[in-house]
Symmetry: C2
Subunit: 94 residues, 2 copies
């Protein structure tokens, strides 16, 4: 079994209202930041998942998203496996 | 002025407790997902920012992070400009 570093991006579905994003947009405007729009806020979940192979890790992560991490009615998600050789693969400009 | 699509990743700082991540980890274990650990939950903010150039867009986004979007005491953030030619640049393996 290998430990896979997994990153899940959960985003509000296109077309659906995102009240949190709307609130941030209003707050930014109040702070004097003009020309900011379409603010959408999602979740970024990172975890280590034990699995026998990459496909198994992906499939376990998908199941976790469907059952707990994302709400498929209002959110989309995408999963990727982070490079084990790079301690902070997801944090940069990758 | 150009509209830049910007993505901000806000993550709990290394070494700091992440209660939300801990709660998800516990919930996943209760659901029968073994071998899941180091769950950390951050925010993924996407927005359109009007600016004269990419460096200006980046600098405006940094200011927004420092003043509103991230809490620098407990969170790190990274900013990137999404490819305008790709409607969903941030959703894939990029």
């Amino acid at each position: 079994m290998t430990d896979y570093r997994i990153e899940v991006r959960v985003t509000p579905r296109e077309g659906l209202l995102d009240p949190q994003g709307r609130a941030v947009e209003t707050a930014l405007t109040s702070l004097g930041f003009d020309g900011v729009e379409s603010v959408r806020i999602g979740k970024l979940v990172r975890m280590r998942v034990e699995a026998a192979s990459e496909p198994e890790a992906m499939s376990r992560a998908r199941e976790m998203c469907d059952r707990l991490i994302a709400n498929p009615v209002i959110e989309d998600y995408s999963i990727r496996i982070l490079d084990e050789n790079n301690g902070d693969a997801g944090g940069g400009d990758a």
